[in-house]
């Protein structure tokens, strides 16, 4: 079927490629004409402006936006002004689901269907297919089924006959999760879980890295807690090999572990990284949803907060702790430079 794609960054462009390969007709637009030209060369129909883009879509039109969350809203508004009742706009970016809920209500008044799609798969999606979490009105989602089926990984997994339609498409890698907003809600929680899993691996590997602590000379002063039983910390663990062996038959095998093992094979000391871990909005939104609904999330929040700390944001709190220790106990801070030496 025909679909319009607006926003031809890495994600958008790769999705068009997967759709073209699946036999769909793609009308593409981006503010960067080179991005358009590249896909035209691969078989897409190019548009020179948003107006041209809208005009080239056969009615009822299907237009997919793959834009940064910060500019999605304004572009939806512009595009909606060029569209007619019965058309459908799909937001496939990393939007906050609140915005989807609000926008859907606004567009419903114009007779335009608004569908939100959370996509997971990152840079691997072109090859593996994208895991799609979809929110929107039934009829619109149903109409887009051929598009979703092509973008999703498909049925290479040996699944049994599904007991419901939801389970059937889920086995193919896409799912209609509920009304508009539900797609990004489920994707948001997916990312929250991702943070927690990543932190679980990272903390565990950090313990493995410290398993030779008993071999190291340790400062002996009142500000350094002694290692009580050095005889139990004499192991030099091969980080790459351990992450590899866990991939085979262990309870903690996962795709994230596959990637971790690859990364550690190339650089077991991770010397190429400084340790400043960014966080995108989804982790924060997940926590806000948990707080609103009163759901305890000690693990997911610890993962997010550790990222904040890695960004240097615990600095004032840490200074205050040192100030208190000095005030009641006369404890002087150990210089930070010692830390570096210790960490290597």
């Amino acid at each position: 079927m025909q679909i319009g794609m607006m926003g031809l960054g890495r994600m958008g462009a790769n999705m068009v490629r997967r759709l073209l390969k699946g036999g769909h007709e793609c009308v593409v637009f981006d503010i960067n004409p080179a991005s358009v030209a590249a896909l035209v060369a691969e078989g897409a129909t190019g548009a020179t402006s948003m107006e041209d883009f809208a005009a080239k879509l056969t009615k009822p039109a299907c237009a997919w936006l793959m834009l940064p969350a910060a500019i999605t809203g304004q572009n939806v508004d512009k595009l909606a002004a060029l569209m007619a009742p019965g058309d459908v706009i799909i937001d496939g970016g990393n939007s906050y689901y609140h915005d989807d809920v609000d926008k859907a209500e606004q567009l419903r008044a114009k007779g335009i269907d608004y569908v939100d799609v959370g996509t997971s798969g990152g840079v691997w999606g072109l090859e593996r297919g994208y895991c799609l979490m979809i929110g929107g009105p039934d009829n619109a989602v149903r109409r887009l089924d051929p598009i979703f089926a092509t973008l999703a990984p498909g049925s290479n997994a040996p699944d049994t006959a599904a007991s419901s339609e939801a389970l059937h498409t889920a086995q193919l890698g896409y799912l209609h999760c509920g009304p508009t907003g539900a797609g990004h809600f489920v994707k948001m929680v997916h990312n929250g879980i991702e943070y927690g899993m990543m932190a679980a691996y990272a903390e565990g590997m950090n313990i493995l890295k410290a398993a030779n602590a008993g071999k190291k000379t340790r400062d002996v002063d009142a500000e350094t807690s002694p290692l009580p039983t050095p005889q139990y910390y004499q192991f030099d663990i091969d980080m790459a090999a351990v992450s590899e062996v866990w991939r085979h038959g262990s309870v903690i095998s996962s795709w994230l572990l596959d990637l971790t093992a690859d990364a550690l094979k190339q650089d077991p000391e991770l010397a190429g990284y400084g340790g400043r871990v960014s966080d995108s909005g989804e982790g924060r939104w997940t926590l806000k949803a948990a707080i609103d609904t009163g759901v305890p999330t000690p693990v997911l929040s610890s993962a997010v907060f550790q990222r904040f700390s890695s960004q240097g944001e615990s600095l004032y709190a840490d200074k205050l702790l040192s100030a208190m220790r000095f005030a009641f106990g006369g404890h002087h801070e150990k210089p930070k430079s010692d830390t570096g030496a210790k960490a290597t």
Copy 2:
């Protein structure tokens, strides 16, 4: 090659089966004669006592113990008294690695090699193979290589040529991690990570479950925090379908997620469970290792502590919080019975 197996519970018996299928000769012993008889019927050589077991092993003997951690130590001592220099004893149970380090030193004096093997794979190991994390002296571990190769999953994964011997066996699902104790140390951290991953999924799914909070009537009283924006919590999420779709192409796909999806397909409300989550020793030991070595583990510890809470162990602390709230603010506790109603 020949190997003795002592302790024929679910794990030990299945390992024997996998070894027999791999062409090894197995001498088996258990205090329960029926367990011995069952495996004799499948081709193993049975022993009627520990003395008989030791006598039937060809020198230099290899004896694998698959016993509960609490009785491993005393059985190793008894068996060691029946063995000779050059023999090797393997502890494949869930022992604390401290005990392995101590025991290895003790047996070294007698010329007996002590090897510890952490095994992951649970009830699925017979079919999938066991992920083996091994600690012990080089020569002993090398001698046991055919056994490890059979127990481990093997090379069904499309791996590239390994750049080291460690990576080579790791790709087959077994790894010599270091001297005795290193195997259970790596297995311990594996379980710590497992706790964290499980909690990440559980917390995230719990948020999905609460996504329809805006549809529910909520108590309006000073002791209930209001839901600020009910319009954003109107989703009835199909838990089984979401866990299924995440298996296909998402960043959080994993074997634990495969099992979760299966469990939710059968019982989406998890009505068969009461919510009391046991913890075995490994999670606790992981935290102790982190504390000893000064490694921050906010995620892994939160996962362990949530299990303690599920076991009812936060009760006195919670009562104390209510007592303080009454003392400074005159707040009366809401009855617990309200909670149940709210949770359904």
Copy 3:
């Protein structure tokens, strides 16, 4: 000076009493006429309606609202319609500071000053004085200084000469924290800290309570982690006496500890409580502010999440953990009833 007080619940009525004792003239109103009558008997001027209340205030009028957060907004709107430019409305309730920021902007257009006051002190404020955290325009806050000075604890603490006006009033127990909203912002964070401190005491006391764990019989099964060194857990701690001794010269002495010691003297087993700990909005709002600004708050969030757990909200997550444990390891849940027995 003259001040109007609307909302004569426990907090509002006691504030009027403290103001009357301080020589101020109080016009009082509440939808419950009996509450009005009670304070009229103590010297206040009563009002029979909001209109009457507004009419009895000398221009420029000062009206203090002490209402539940949920109905503050609508009452401010009604009252504002009866007021004139130059008047000031004070919100002394537990409002979300976002609402204050929004409301102040709205009233500014009408020439009415909006001041928000976070008050701490609970049921003890009448006697001890209230700690006041104030937000609003300079001129309005300055005009209300006599009121704040009377409500606050005053100078019984042996403070040195303050180096700034802010420090001077802070030593008396009230502080102009910034523009409207700043008062409730600082109060919100105060409550966030309160949650953390309370949890620190509660967790610590819970460990003391468990100090005799080595004396108890423990289930011996695969689902119960053994107590490794019972000889170190043979202490029967006198909870009331410990909380009392900490009040005298220890680093952790505090007013919350004073209240805790009192509560434990009366009921060391806290048998009067069930352990369901409510949370009001401030703890949740504190976390949202931390998330918005990227500030790590592992301790404050753990305190809030433990309250959610005490309310039964971890139930589905806990069931899911048990389901996973059964799926990979065949572990059966221990019945919850065992927990109760263990906890006593």
Copy 4:
């Protein structure tokens, strides 16, 4: 009464001064003769060796050791060899209570009583008195009562008549908590609580510090989470004044807050500190006790782990997170230098 004091560092020397002022006779010894001479000048009896020290104690002797935990054990052994049945040795240092339990059993065989005393009060103890948590046999603790009564703060607090002997001495600032080890156990938990309280204040103050985030320019890139509502983060909070106002009538007033307010008055930006927060053993031991007994301590552990992070110990984990983010999403790390700029 007569008491011997061995170890004349800041704590030991000040305790001798408080005891001399209380009319006790003190025999003092330290490996540094100058420390002995200083106290002799103030009225103590000096000893030139451990033998001399032991000889100068009237039978039955009472010898108090105030030494670093690392060397306490060996000194107790040496001293015990010079003592006789009926004598008592007191360990007032920061020992691990396990060592006390073990040592008491060992000395019991020789007829020597071993008493452990956890002391809180830091550098302020000389003036305010020390909060004493005591473990040991009844008769020995009773005999030392005059010493404890002098060291403790005493009865300046307006307490009511105590209902038990424990509560009576607790009101004076000292408490016999149980058999040997109980003193340091209670002190250990005290410090665990201290960590939690300190972190609660530090995290809260850190949020206050970030209350002007909406005024700052923020990087706009895919690796920086945007501030959703800058209008609510426009407050420049006077940190010193806020900590001061909270001291007067608020729920979170405490001695730690008194010290915090002092520190912030002198240096609101805490420019004199680098943010590396040491931890002594007690916080770690508290967590181990919680883990052994299955008590959930999410708050206390978060406080300890944040200190580990401040010491640089999350570095490898953070690098691993960045490596994973690059692997699945192609995310490049933001340089650490940006962090510094952001934090100021």
